[in-house]
């Protein structure tokens, strides 16, 4: 128990005024036993264990429960009395590490030229030294899905863990998905009231027909890819066709970014024709066809809770209550946070808002942990505090979903202790030092 105190102190004061983020190191591998005791354990699957203990061995969760003995050996023990313990939060769909400053082109590696780029891989550009990463860890986000943006088939996404020296270290699930950026099927703006069109450069012709033609190009590509995959050898190797093999073997999912009903119906079409595992990303109108999505087992990654309703006429809190509608219909969904102004740090509060508008707190938690892990195909390794999974764990002073109590004191990735220092804490220290304030 002596050890435990020192760890808590270490957790809170690992930085000093002299440090910069460059001296925040990834956690060292820890092979021994690690215990988190006296915690309110939010498992991630809806279960809550009061005064629970988590036993971690060699980076894996070995035991979770109430009466777990702690050996007197040289083990790490974290007393989380009065605190809440959560699985590491997962940012399901993001451009973390690909986009440092969105408005500065040189810092953006988020999309490629061309319409059919399934061979493009987000993982190879993931920058583990992005200053954004540490600020997310500070809010309990320990894993992220990273996808390439662009036109139509934009490339493959991967899942990364947020405490790594380089992208190979970070890779948690590589090329787990292919992203399809659906062209808009929304009738174009025709100008309202006094304004004769809003001057956006619109290509000629019916935009919906054009979008459907583009999607047909994708389908033709996938049909040929299927045929290609079935042939044992090829005289000409086609990298693009090779890149989508996993879709047919279900090693990869097809993530389709779309929002309105017509777009989602077109997404369903990919399930029907190819039998793919399809995930809808965005899905702001998914609540309108929740039953249909359930029927086709299509999960949804909701882009952002903290959003205005799509329509003037919509319920003013529509985006906030969309998760509750999906939950009720039995649709598997995750909540993400793609706000470019706050750089995704508000993921837990997006879930908190969903809890304020109809989800239970544990359901809201699942939407940023276990559900996300399931959708990303990593639920065997993470997403909940369950035996056999990686010890990706967060300790919070209070309710992690509520900003006034969501103060993260510790985080562990694969059992490694994560340094929660970030650029923001360092700058705050620097100027507290200047003013002599605490």
């Amino acid at each position: 128990m002596k050890k435990l105190l020192s760890y808590i102190l270490l957790g809170l004061f690992t930085f000093s005024a002299a440090m910069a983020q460059e001296t925040v190191y990834p956690g060292k591998e820890y092979k021994g036993l690690l215990f988190i005791t006296n915690a309110v354990i939010h498992v991630g699957n809806g279960q809550v264990i009061e005064k629970g203990t988590i036993k971690v061995n060699n980076g894996k969760i070995e035991q979770v429960g109430q009466n777990i003995a702690i050996p007197a050996d040289d083990v790490k023990v974290f007393d989380a009395k009065g605190k809440h313990v959560y699985p590491g939060l997962i940012l399901a769909s993001s451009q973390l590490g690909l986009m440092e400053v969105p408005t500065v082109r040189a810092t953006v590696d988020a999309s490629e030229l061309g319409d059919l780029n399934p061979n493009v891989r987000s993982i190879v550009a993931y920058n583990t030294d992005s200053k954004v990463i540490n600020t997310l860890r500070s809010n309990g986000i320990l894993l992220a899905g990273v996808y390439p943006d662009g036109s139509l088939l934009t490339g493959s996404s991967s899942v990364v863990q947020l405490d790594a020296w380089n992208w190979e270290d970070a890779a948690y699930a590589t090329d787990n998905g292919i992203y399809l950026n659906m062209p808009s099927l929304l009738t174009r703006r025709g100008g309202r009231g006094g304004f004769g069109g809003f001057g956006q450069q619109q290509p000629q012709g019916d935009p919906i027909k054009r979008a459907l033609d583009q999607l047909e190009v994708v389908k033709v590509f996938l049909r040929e890819a299927k045929a290609y995959a079935e042939a044992p050898t090829h005289t000409t190797t086609n990298l693009k066709l090779e890149a989508v093999k996993g879709l047919f073997t279900k090693k990869q999912k097809l993530f389709i970014t779309c929002n309105i009903v017509k777009e989602m119906l077109v997404a369903v079409d990919f399930v029907k024709e190819f039998g793919f595992d399809v995930v809808i990303v965005g899905g702001s109108d998914s609540y309108l066809i929740a039953d249909l999505l359930k029927q086709y087992n299509i999960p949804v990654i909701l882009g952002q809770m903290h959003s205005l309703p799509t329509m003037v006429d919509d319920d003013v809190d529509q985006p906030y209550k969309t998760p509750a509608i999906l939950q009720k219909a039995g649709v598997l969904f995750a909540i993400s946070d793609d706000d470019a102004n706050t750089r995704s740090r508000n993921l837990p509060f997006n879930a908190g808002t969903a809890a304020a508008y109809g989800l239970s707190k544990e359901e809201a938690l699942s939407a940023i942990t276990l559900n996300a892990a399931k959708i990303l195909g990593v639920a065997d390794k993470t997403g909940s505090i369950e035996v056999g999974k990686d010890a990706n764990i967060v300790i919070s002073e209070g309710d992690i979903l509520d900003m006034k109590s969501s103060i993260i004191t510790h985080a562990f990735i694969q059992g490694r202790t994560v340094d929660l220092t970030d650029k923001h804490k360092q700058l705050a220290e620097r100027y507290k030092y200047k003013y002599g304030i605490k």
Partner: protein, 1035 residues
């Protein structure tokens, strides 16, 4: 069909007065053919004006003018007599808002664009003014040309006269009154300078300024001032033809194209300031605020372009159709009727119609929707003529006026009536000549062929149906164009059917011609009129189902109300009251609200008249105040120049913004609407209260100190410019100099005025002080800056990095004022001590960062550090979505900065009230303050807190229970309108002429922002910049 030529004759010996006028400078190539064109129209129903209808009357015209109209009018011997029995004669219509005969203007994309280069001054060559959108020098009579194709399309509708002007620019010069006769321009112009024209629309100007609604308004205001100053021939200005012309046309009728209910009010306010009563060209939506429109006391010009119904056959598309668009479709035809009912003087115009031929049908629809035919006639005749001072020439059928009249088959606005011909200046123009004689009826038809003669009884019916009866009844078709007739009938069925065809010429009651039967035999035929059709009176006057129309709501939008909510006496019992005062948080406390004020805070309060709201388990706070908002405005950025202190957000408030209601649902009661960050010295701001349903003026927070927006850094140096920046400044060094230069100029301006005032004070008794504005040009831009220096106007300054914050402080120090508030101020924590010394407030975001270069060092602990250093700190939104969660944004300082919960809440209540100088009225729960309150379901800093009631001035504007009901009502109303549109599509009425349909149109929403961030708001968001650069474009 014969056209009478009036070539200004010279041979009229017996009319000496005319002889003088009739001489012409134009030579004649050939033999002169001058005629007097004397006609007498007899037995007519003569509608001299809307009040006077004379049956069996005679109208006599000569030389293009009326010489007699009424009963007992002598018919001159040389008159050609036209029997008008059963026909109506009306004065022809006047279109007061036309561009007939004007050259087409070249549309060019102008205005301010973040990505593109700027054009700082007028590129029109010549001695013109500085702004390319001011065309006061344009004289429509000099560019007017007769265009008979266009004239015909108007004559066919009954028009004989127009006021035409070039519809381009913010000041458009003069209009010309001309008839629609197909004659030399010299002869058709009735009045060459009849009107002066204005708008808020930059038109073809390629100049960057103005690029916003408020910029257009201000440009007009400054031009009035400049033109007045120019009267003294200031040497510095030289010759300015634009201002010279402006001054010359001020005594004409002043016509302002506003085109929308709020724009009408904006235009009228400009007029009020400069003693001008505009005639306002309206839009179609004034019925939504008819009381406010009435209060302008202006005369209006109403277009009749009603929105088409939408196709409602696709539920996925319907999802994006707005309730307001649907309601407007239903109610737009009531607009003219609403003007009539409100007793507002108005004219009607064909302007704005996609196709002018829709005019008649739309006018009839307006009559069906409440406009009286008499008013309609006045609005097309007497009213425009009177407004333009030409009622002595046109607008009624009186001797001496121009012979401009239409002959119709019935009452002019009745559904079946057709205009037979339209006479302009005594020239006849056929419209529906074929209808002059009603050919319908029964004829005796005889055909003669080699085989012999046959007799038929031929009946011609409505819709071109003809029946031929001898032994059998054969059904066929006919057509008649006034002269030529065609007939046919078919015998037999299917593939073996054979057709007999006839054609010929009508000579009135007798027709003759040739034919060919189904077997190929030729024959001749004759027909003579026997008797007319017996008209079944009822069949043509089927009773329409009475109109069932939805209600106008305030605002005219989803969640609008039938009437404005009332102030109540309210007692909130047993709540946890966060006072934001030194009393702190009081548990189990009551708050009594009366007369819009907080009257008591305590325990066990009671008031018999009060509505009691149980606050048990709930939290009551003062209404949230958002120091930095961009909602409820028609435009936000005037980026045309680096200094635009002259523009005012308050000139262009937009109460029809759903975000007012959405933010009430998040507890916001007061918002500071700031100019954007397009330039260093932006526009004057407007503090509003979120009084949902109020008009633009009533939104304003009355009696608050005036503020102005400044901005520093990336946006104002246009770092994101994709095509290179050519507008000074291009660096933070330049930004500082823009401020120094502006205040230096303002200081010199102030000194010049002071000197004049001092000199005036030295004058002896009886000496008259000169008007200072004769020597000094009153400058709205500098006036605002002088106010800042005199601490009568206060700055809120968009700022990020420490260098620019420090520089702005130094500029303020140098000119002796304080920067009241630094907003955004994400590096405020680095110079908090300097800000404290300077005396500035700080209004910031909780946790935004890294979305552009200048926010790389933004930290979520910023607010807490600044507060600990002793600054008054607020958390603001700058974002229509985040404003709904400002309480929670404040809560983040508890997390990131260890701030107390009470202090955190103050950052969105009393602290912003202090920095806006309204803490004596709002921002805390204190007896005597405005009853701006929010009752929360939970701790207000918590993610789980929902506003249950939001109260402004003791009026409940948001009530979660009522909100749930309104959601149902919105769906019910939408369903009703969808069904109505579907029915219109099936039947063509009421409310939707067949074929007048459009694809379901998404209801895009304009979200105005600072141009500073990247928080996406949804699929239907329309980019603010995009909207602004186009709002002044094509209407």
């Amino acid at each position: 069909m014969r056209k009478i030529q009036i070539l200004a004759g010279t041979l009229l010996l017996f009319m000496s007065t005319f002889l003088v006028q009739a001489q012409s400078t134009f030579p004649v190539n050939g033999v002169t053919d001058n005629r007097e064109g004397c006609y007498a129209f007899t037995n007519a129903i003569l509608v001299k004006d809307a009040q006077t209808t004379i049956p069996n009357a005679t109208l006599v015209i000569r030389d293009g003018k009326i010489v007699g109209a009424g009963t007992g009018v002598a018919i001159p011997k040389d008159a050609v007599v036209i029997d008008c029995k059963g026909k109506f004669i009306y004065p022809s219509f006047i279109d007061i808002y036309s561009d007939y005969g004007m050259p087409a203007s070249q549309r060019a994309a102008g205005g301010f664009n973040f990505g593109g280069p700027s054009q700082m001054t007028n590129n029109q060559k010549g001695a013109y003014g500085w702004n390319q959108a001011i065309h006061a020098d344009v004289d429509a009579s000099r560019i007017f040309t007769v265009d008979d194709a266009k004239a015909k399309s108007l004559r066919d509708l009954g028009f004989g006269t127009v006021l035409s002007h070039q519809k381009d620019g913010i000041a458009r010069g003069t209009g010309v009154v001309a008839t629609l006769a197909n004659e030399k321009e010299n002869m058709v112009i009735v009045k060459d300078k009849a009107s002066a024209h204005y708008s808020l629309n930059r038109g073809t100007s390629t100049q960057s300024y103005p690029s916003s609604m408020m910029g257009s308004i201000t440009l007009l205001r400054q031009t009035y001032i400049d033109a007045n100053w120019y009267k003294n021939n200031p040497a510095a200005e030289g010759v300015n033809l634009t201002l010279k012309s402006w001054n010359e046309i001020q005594n004409l009728p002043q016509i302002f194209e506003a085109g929308d209910k709020w724009n009408d009010l904006r235009a009228d306010r400009i007029g009020d300031e400069f003693g001008v009563q505009y005639i306002i060209k309206a839009g179609q939506n004034e019925y939504q605020r008819i009381k406010e429109i009435q209060s302008t006391k202006a005369s209006y010009i109403l277009p009749l372009n009603f929105p088409a119904a939408m196709d409602v056959d696709d539920p996925a598309d319907l999802r994006f159709v707005g309730l307001d668009d649907m309601k407007h479709w239903e109610l737009a035809p009531t607009n003219a009727g609403a003007f009539e009912k409100a007793g507002i003087n108005f004219c009607l115009t064909t302007s704005d119609l996609a196709n002018v031929s829709e005019f008649t049908a739309n006018l009839r629809k307006a009559i069906e929707y409440g406009l009286s035919p008499a008013k309609a006639l006045e609005a097309l005749t007497k009213n425009p003529a009177t407004l333009l001072g030409v009622y002595d020439k046109v607008g009624s059928l009186e001797a001496g006026k121009l012979a401009n009249f239409v002959i119709t088959s019935g009452p002019i606005f009745a559904e079946k009536t057709v205009i037979l011909n339209n006479w302009v200046q005594g020239n006849k123009y056929a419209v529906k000549e074929e209808s002059w004689f009603d050919v319908k009826g029964t004829y005796k038809l005889t055909t003669t062929a080699a085989a012999g003669t046959k007799n038929y009884s031929l009946t011609l019916k409505d819709g071109g149906v003809a029946t031929f009866i001898d032994k059998d009844t054969l059904t066929g078709k006919y057509s008649f164009d006034g002269k030529m007739v065609k007939l046919s009938y078919t015998e037999g069925r299917g593939p073996r059917a054979v057709e007999t065809i006839l054609s010929g010429v009508s000579n009135g009651a007798t027709w003759s011609g040739s034919g060919r039967d189904g077997a190929g035999n030729n024959f001749t035929w004759m027909a003579s009129f026997d008797k007319g059709l017996v008209v079944n009176q009822d069949s043509s006057r089927q009773q329409r189902t009475p109109l069932q129309l939805g209600k106008v709501t305030y605002p005219f939008l989803a969640y609008g109300m039938d009437s404005l909510p009332k102030q109540e006496t309210i007692l909130i019992k047993n709540a946890t009251v966060w006072t934001s005062e030194k009393d702190g948080v009081l548990k189990g406390t009551d708050v009594l609200v009366k007369g819009g004020k907080i009257v008591q805070v305590g325990t066990n309060l009671s008031d018999a008249s009060a509505r009691v709201i149980d606050g048990t388990g709930k939290h009551l706070t003062a209404g949230i105040i958002d120091e930095h908002s961009h909602i409820a405005a028609a435009s936000i950025n005037e980026g045309g120049q680096s200094v635009t202190s002259e523009v005012r957000i308050g000139d262009n408030l937009n109460p029809d913004d759903i975000n007012i209601y959405r933010q009430l649902s998040g507890g916001v009661t007061t918002s500071h609407i700031l100019h954007g960050s397009a330039n260093t010295i932006g526009g004057q701001t407007q503090l509003i209260k979120l009084r949902w349903g109020a008009n633009d003026d009533d939104l304003k927070f009355k009696g608050s100190d005036p503020f102005i927006k400044f901005a520093l850094g990336e946006n104002v140096k246009r770092s994101s410019s994709s095509q290179g920046n050519n507008r000074f400044p291009d660096s933070r060094m330049g930004v500082e100099q823009v401020m120094v230069d502006a205040f230096t100029r303002a200081n010199d301006y102030q000194n010049a005025l002071k000197k004049i005032a001092e000199d005036a004070a030295k004058l002896k008794k009886g000496q008259v002080a000169p008007n200072p504005w004769n020597t000094v040009r009153r400058d709205l831009e500098l006036e605002a800056l002088v106010e800042i220096m005199n601490k009568k106007r206060f700055i809120t300054c968009h700022s990020y990095v420490q260098s620019e914050i420090n520089a702005a402080i130094k500029v303020a120090d140098r000119f002796g004022f304080t920067v009241n508030t630094f907003t955004h101020i994400l590096e405020g924590y680095k110079v908090a001590d300097k800000m404290k010394t300077h005396g500035a407030n700080a209004s910031t975001f909780s946790d935004w960062w890294n979305y552009k270069m200048e926010v790389l060092d933004a930290i979520p602990g910023n607010a807490a550090i600044m507060q600990k250093v002793g600054l008054n700190v607020a958390i603001n939104s700058d974002d229509a979505e985040m404003a709904r969660r400002l309480n929670q944004e404040a809560g983040k300082s508890v997390k990131y900065g260890g701030m107390s919960e009470e202090d955190a809440l103050k950052m969105v209540t009393i602290n912003p009230a202090k920095m806006l100088h309204v803490d004596d009225k709002v921002g805390s729960i204190k007896v005597g303050k405005d009853a701006d309150l929010v009752l929360w379901s939970d701790n207000p800093l918590s993610i789980y807190a929902k506003a249950e009631n939001t109260i402004v001035d003791g009026i409940v504007y948001f009530d979660r229970t009522k909100d749930a009901e309104m959601r149902k009502q919105i769906q019910a109303e939408k369903t009703r309108l969808i069904q109505k549109m579907a029915a219109a599509k099936r039947s063509g009425g009421p409310g939707g002429a067949p074929g007048n349909f459009q694809r379901a149109r998404p209801r895009f929403e304009v979200i105005l922002v600072c141009e500073d961030h990247y928080h996406q708001h949804g699929l239907l968001e329309v980019d603010a910049e995009d909207m602004e650069s186009n709002s002044t474009e094509n209407k």
